[in-house]
Symmetry: C2
Subunit: 518 residues, 2 copies
């Protein structure tokens, strides 16, 4: 039985849960019967009215909403390949991606309608579909499509049908299209199911942007067991607190930056998160001080860390609640490979390194992308030697726990010594006046690179460069200490996925664009 | 990445665990480095010396041992298809299976050497390989093969390469060969990994016979994470108690009959099982009284029930420790579908039945066999309508917990009423004098079939027919009460997989062989 098709999992779950709530989005609510009716109609209209064929791409540029989930589901039922767009893209990048993907249909919500309109001609978009209502230029609305479509179950897709084309962050050179097929997504779901033990009683809040791989576990997993999805349009700490309370959210995924902002919000009180059973974090390293604050403040919360990337759609390793509660050094680990994933730490020549030695984190697994779209060279480079090369530096301990040291590209080489910025950031983040910190390498005549810290202070607090350095001194080796510290009140620049854009911080120091990657 | 090949999981795990213990078998011990060296040599000799090609079958008829695991691993590395033989087979069945499978090489241990010798010519066996030592007729020993083979890693198999050909019990008509490929076994392992959360610290005791599907989780799963396997040659309560204590076993799989025998053993004390963290049971229904006894006696044990069949290799649903501790009616459930498995309860016409209604348990999932070997009619029948038809009767509750009512074939129809034998057995099993009970239908002039109980008394205890009936009366409806009870001291006849052979019990009552199935 060729069962690695989402269709096979979603349809019976939706049927079993026909009367249960599928989506809550403000005042909008749909049972699974209603949700599937909308998805079937949307899929039908996509193919019959807009002419989107089985492997044709359609783009989505929108804030989180029930419509976004419906669009993903239409693709997963075998009607087109969804191309979710990063909301921070500059017009030139956007036009590049839309042209590169060959997308001719673009769904857009009122927030981004003018952005799409500006690149529409250049990008070759034939049809713009407006999500929701709004007085903005568009050819048709998604609700009109849903009304016009027929509620028929599409023909079952094949395992190797492409289903998602997701462009990577665009923080390194030109964006690359990660092409994921049904099989890869289903194997990712097997991994997610090992981590979370899905249950139809879950109420999942989408707060990470739904264009991002970190959302895929929720997008696919939650409906596949008949559980409930709820949404905030865009991350906002106050709105998240309200949504969790109002919808009695049991589970969510956040990136560390979001958690920090949530806990720093003036209206944050742990009781407001009482319904929350599971908090999964990932996408970037968690500062040790923040993790300890979460564990102290909400001891009953089951914490999971997931590590993965768009190319693996997404999760490769997980650190579970038991490991979090046990504390100690494992708190700083990304956990162990989920069953079906194999990790290998390799040196620059592709040799496997022994336990405890730091090298590039490489992985294999059935959940990896098929290819970078239209980019065989990049595909070959990513998978050379039969392993996916993550670009992350890390090591495995004797119990096969993965410790991520840094992005290989974020490693600072100062006087011939490797300094991993995360280590320096952890040493600084524990200072009571520090709200955010990012450590980068900047040019230095003697050492090649020098360690430089950018520190954002907490509201109303002050700190000096030397206080920061003295605070870090007992924690890390002398050569890892920042040579210079910028103290500022304005927040760090963030990517669409809420990762700190180190590239932006580096820009003023480096003229060479090659070095200025993130 | 086409990763659904056991090779990909085993090799890195074995490498990572090179110095850890792979197998303990009496005085024999092998690290993973040693185990893999043996397996590579064995695989090499199988193909180069005995001419077993990639899809050629080789049979094994042996008690549990480290050699059995090595033979499975040789097949899983892509050298031949292992055909494990049920140890209770009559010579005619054995000859049939060996001919049907086209096996020309048979591995046999001293216990079964004469059995194989007797059918060798008729079955077309060209080479008999003796497992272990012993002064019995053979062409070569497995140790000689291992010594002669070269320790080279075989070429990686393909996902759809067949790897196991396992004949079903043979209790219904002619045995059917269940052909399982790499992909099905790997997807089964994904299911097993969801259930157990494998860990390299596990010490797994093989006590269910290794020819049986119930052993597959341990055979494949334990080495795939670098954990330790240990063995008793054949189930014996005293030997199991000793093995658990001696090897500090943390995990094992048993069928309910075995657990009952273990706990009834004069030297059973719960402290002797102190190292045991996880006990998984399955393969036949657990009498309620026995389950309650286990929960009372060993409250710290994590109990799992797995439900599946050879055709699904093996696990479809699981009931976990939390459900066991919560108690109540879920104790009598087989649990919920593992992620990737879809269940459907169907009537005789293939219509899906609603929640709560009893029908045939049907399932889909990537872990199912490819086909019954050489038997397209049986394959078509088993999968008609796109679902695997289990032959088990059951229903799903509103939380999707599966309740198995009985084998469809074990249902007794008396006066037009359906009686499920398990229900009657549960009502009788709680009587203090009852060690074992089996309920069957026997011919009755008025009712068509009458409910008949066969009761085995505990050592030194006595009970009468009317005491049994009066004990059951408050528990079940009148038409379900046995019309007759046979009280006896001798144990019930058991199949090779330790299931009660109801066919044997029925034989004396039914002349019509068609009805006398199990």
């Amino acid at each position: 039985m060729k069962e690695l098709v989402y269709h096979r999992q979603l349809l019976p779950a939706a049927e079993r849960s026909a009367e249960r709530t599928a989506t809550i989005d403000g005042t909008f609510r749909a049972t699974y019967a209603e949700h599937m009716d909308r998805v079937f109609r949307l899929a039908h209209a996509l193919s019959h009215q807009l002419g989107v064929g089985r492997t044709d791409r359609f783009a989505v540029m929108a804030l989180n909403s029930h419509w976004y989930l419906e669009l993903y589901h239409a693709a997963f039922l075998g009607v087109g390949v969804v191309n979710p767009l990063n909301l921070r893209l500059a017009p030139a990048e956007l036009a590049y991606i839309l042209r590169d993907s060959g997308t001719t249909v673009c769904f857009v919500d009122p927030t981004f309608a003018t952005v799409i309109d500006a690149v529409r001609a250049e990008a070759g978009i034939e049809t713009v579909v407006l999500i929701g209502d709004g007085d903005v230029p568009h050819d048709i609305t998604i609700e009109a499509l849903i009304a016009a479509g027929e509620p028929v179950v599409p023909a079952e897709p094949e395992e190797d049908d492409p289903v998602v084309l997701m462009y990577t962050g665009g923080t390194t050179g030109l964006p690359k299209g990660v092409l994921l097929d049904q099989r890869a997504e289903m194997l990712n779901l097997y991994h997610v199911a090992q981590m979370w033990e899905f249950d139809e009683s879950f109420v999942f809040l989408h707060q990470t942007p739904m264009f991002h791989a970190a959302s895929m576990g929720g997008i696919l997993g939650i409906p596949s067991v008949g559980a409930t999805s709820t949404f905030v349009p865009v991350f906002d700490p106050g709105a998240v607190l309200e949504a969790i309370e109002r919808d009695q959210v049991t589970m969510t995924v956040m990136v560390p930056t979001m958690i920090g902002m949530l806990m720093a919000h003036p209206e944050f009180r742990p009781e407001r998160l009482a319904s929350l059973d599971i908090l999964t974090y990932g996408a970037s390293p968690m500062p040790a001080a923040l993790l300890e604050r979460i564990l102290e403040t909400m001891p009953d919360l089951d914490l999971y860390q997931g590590y993965g990337m768009t190319e693996s759609s997404a999760v490769l390793t997980a650190l579970g609640p038991d490991d979090h509660r046990a504390g100690g050094s494992r708190l700083h680990s990304a956990g162990r490979a989920l069953y079906g994933v194999v990790l290998s730490i390799q040196d620059a020549d592709g040799n496997a390194l022994p336990t405890g030695q730091t090298g590039e984190v490489c992985a294999r697994g059935g959940n990896f992308m098929r290819e970078y779209w239209n980019n065989p060279e990049a595909t070959e480079e990513a998978f050379h030697g039969g392993w996916y090369h993550s670009g992350d530096a890390g090591y495995l301990d004797e119990h096969a726990y993965l410790f991520l040291v840094d992005r290989v590209k974020d490693m600072i080489v100062t006087g011939g010594e490797n300094v991993y910025s995360v280590e320096v950031e952890n040493a600084i983040a524990a200072h009571p006046a520090v709200a955010q910190v990012a450590v980068i390498g900047i040019p230095h005549d003697v050492w090649g690179e020098a360690v430089h810290a950018v520190v954002v202070t907490r509201d109303g607090m002050e700190v000096t460069e030397s206080e920061i350095i003295e605070h870090a001194r007992p924690k890390i080796a002398g050569y890892k200490l920042p040579k210079s510290v910028e103290v500022r009140a304005e927040p760090l620049p963030l990517s669409g996925a809420m990762k700190v854009l180190k590239r932006e911080l580096r820009k003023q120091y480096w003229e060479d664009a090659e070095r200025g990657v993130n």
